[in-house]
Symmetry: C2
Amino acid sequence: MVKVKVAVNGYGTIGKRVADAVAMQDDMEIIGVSKTRPNFEAAMAQQKGYDVYTLADRVGSFEEAGMPAAGTVEEMVQNADVVVDCTPGGMGEANKALYEKAGSKAIWQGGEDHELAGCSFNANSNYEKALGRDFVRVVSCNTTGLCRVISPLDREFGIKKVRVTLLRRSADPGDIKHGPINAIVPSPIKLPSHHGPDVKTVLPQIDITTTAVKISTTLMHLHTVNMEFTGECTAKDVEDVLGKQPRIRFVGQGITSTAEVMELARDMFRPRSDMWENCVWNESISMYEGELYFFQAIHQESDVIPENIDAIRAMMEIETNAEKSIAKTNKAMGI
Amino acid sequence: MVKVKVAVNGYGTIGKRVADAVAMQDDMEIIGVSKTRPNFEAAMAQQKGYDVYTLADRVGSFEEAGMPAAGTVEEMVQNADVVVDCTPGGMGEANKALYEKAGSKAIWQGGEDHELAGCSFNANSNYEKALGRDFVRVVSCNTTGLCRVISPLDREFGIKKVRVTLLRRSADPGDIKHGPINAIVPSPIKLPSHHGPDVKTVLPQIDITTTAVKISTTLMHLHTVNMEFTGECTAKDVEDVLGKQPRIRFVGQGITSTAEVMELARDMFRPRSDMWENCVWNESISMYEGELYFFQAIHQESDVIPENIDAIRAMMEIETNAEKSIAKTNKAMGI
């Protein structure tokens, strides 16, 4: 079998994880990753055996740092069937012409606008929309986490209304630039937040309103979810449906916080101690006055990674069935 | 005018603030405060001129520390018209027999059960219920903050349903015992949380469900509030009603977080940099699909303080009108 040639443009928080996840699959391979600076992440990429490319005007700085680049980003893109663009949010748009010129397909991340790709993707929600497409956007960590619970519950019971408060980590663990260190920041202050409309780029039929707050933590986001249904269901029915989902993990057994979820991921020897699944406290799943409530934790650095793999498979049409692609990705990654 | 004799049993976070607020009023006075340990707070109380009492078996330790006690808690209680019990949550119940024996009225804080006093109090919601009572419970900081917004909006428009997510500070600024330092803790995990039922001890007619999460911050709580009404109203109508409330402050002008709210309180030279009012981001007040959304910040150490003053006035019936008591308290404290 000829493997799909994947390039990762932007080897940062998401890019390095996508590269490693691609390398775990038997139907795709990494033909290169790109980096703008010859830092420790670039050095690690070379040590792992990835060809590291850079911008044409940065080739010299990689040379000087003793880690010569394999070539320019343009050269990398020309050799790729699919480029996964993991450049910082808002920067990916400028790369579209490059991908079009090279004739390579491209995946952007949730930091870019829906319109850039015209197709926003979550494997369990709308895999078939990405089949054969040249451009796809894998939605953000929070939107991915919401689609994973909304989509199956809507299919099963019919959703009338979703209300979510998103408690957002303010910085990633390796980030020393952002705050707050001791405050709660309504973000945005104007309500409702943009997260609801972002879910609708994947699930346009869902009536959802969201509020979001940034808080002094780095580990995970947490969602408090409230739903009303058009059909009848009990907390047990909801638990049964969520328990069957391929990327939802129930947590309990003394796991009372995001810190303990991350400790679990470390004990599992997950690469980078990542938690790719939504972590739902099944003890929290409650029906009260006809409305559902539950808590879920979302690992902002990694939950979109398996979704990127599925997006590649859908765009290349090497697997046309969502369930089969999800199962294949999960098996390869050990989910 | 004879001043009401007030004793504060437990001179900690709430107790020291209640004592200072009582001292600001012209119709009541502090006749003593109690402390179990001769620490810096006890020393500060003596420096301020308060008579400091202690438990009978602690008199010796105060003597040794060079700050002799004015007497025992029993003696203090016997001299008081009203004792404000600010002992740690759950400990106030054991003091009830003491107050009954001395024939003094007593106020407990939100950490005690409603049943202990039989009357849970918020000045703007149910002042008249406390008139002449011997025992009253001033509800917790979060419940106070919720009653202050729910009560006037229910009177004006009729509330059908309230849904709140409470983001709770995990420790007070002076507390070095509690965490988390970097995590989000659903608390309680079982939903809905006990905060909704606590609001109903003051406003039994309100249909409210709450979810609560502890986060890594010390400054303030933050509430994301969602309401449905039986009557018609716009965001502007809600803003007009909340803007007229005596203990609600609108924040904006570059105040984007709880940290900046606290900075404002410091710049106002408030005692202990306290913020006694609910701080509502009026920019956040929104109507979306017929439902109201807004954010408010609640200073956990101080929002109940003016409520304790009003409770004293109601119980002693020196003022039978809620609005007049609230206005008098606010004026004396500079709210």
